[in-house]
Structure formats: C-alpha cells, structure tokens
Symmetry: C2
Subunit: 99 residues, 2 copies
C-alpha cells in the first residue's frame, strides 16, 4: 500500500469552495482502480495549506491509471482553479506500522 | 483529532537503525496521553526522507504534554542521533473525511 501525499496551497478566500470541490470529488477516488481511501487535512499552522492523503494499492494506480483517466481531468476541473501553485506530490510506503 | 506530521531526514546508512529506534519507541506513543496511533512512512522518491504521522486527541497532547514528558526525551534518545537536521513538524485537522 502506498500513501500519496499532495501538499496543496490554496488561494486566500477560496478555502470553502476548494473544500466543497474536494467533497464533490470523493466519488472519483472511490471508483478509482486500487484506491483504498482518501482524506483532506488542513494545516493548523498555515490555514491556506492542505494535505491530501490518498491510499493506493500500487504506485502505478496513482501515477499511471488515475492520472491517465478522465476522472483525473474531472478532479482538476473541480479543484485546480483554487491552487495557488502546482501541488507538491510524493509517495510513501509504511516503514513502521505502529498502532 | 489532530494529525502530527513530522518530516525526518535521516543520515545516509542509518535508515535501518533509525527504523529500529522508531519500532522501539512505539510503546512511548502507545502510553502517551491523547495519542490515538502512529506510523512511520518512507518516501518512495527520496528514501532518506521519512514521514512520521501521529494522531493526537488535541494539539496540546502533542505540543505540551508529550513534548514536556520524560518519554519525549526517551524518543529523542532513541532516534535523534539519526536525524540529518531538525525535523519539520506541522499539524493538520480533517477538512474532508473522504472514505
């Protein structure tokens, strides 16, 4: 399982509309191949900064299948106008499962 | 519920020892006031870069109670020597729960 972490900086004043766009996009992730869940978190220290966490079965489920899909275009249509700049995206695998 | 996200860059060659230190530290988090879980993830793109995710009941459970505890000193004793630089720590609250 791979966690996608996208850091999204949102134009000031667009936070509510951005969050509504993400809520509208939940079904896109729900039906995406290999997607096991997603959530959007908002930074406490920098309220214009959001972290999108998406759990994927494999790296390629995100980088190839989702990014190559029409639903990715729909995702960008729903939220892309609110981005202050390009998202910073990385992926991470569990090293210590913890609890 | 607040997610602590600590970005930890680890000295090259120390990754296995660092991961063992985090495993040894799991009980510290398990018994910490307001701690609901933790996991360590390793970046796919930058293998020296780790993300520690800790779920806290409140911000203060991390910033006041845990950081002020003897167990925080023990945490730093277990893993601090492996840090390449100071950790970057932020906190985030759920904005869209997703699935």
């Amino acid at each position: 399982m791979i966690l996608e972490i996208a850091v999204l900086t949102i134009r000031p004043g667009s936070e509510d509309a951005f969050e509504a766009g993400v809520r509208a996009a939940v079904p896109l992730f729900r039906r995406a191949r290999g997607c096991h869940g997603m959530e959007l978190r908002r930074s406490v220290e920098s309220p214009g900064r959001y972290l999108l966490h998406v759990r994927w079965e494999t790296l390629e489920d995100h980088t190839v299948h989702f990014r190559g899909s029409a639903d990715f275009q729909e995702w960008r249509r729903l939220v892309g106008d609110f981005f202050e700049g390009p998202p910073a995206v990385e992926h991470a695998a569990v090293a210590v499962a913890g609890f």
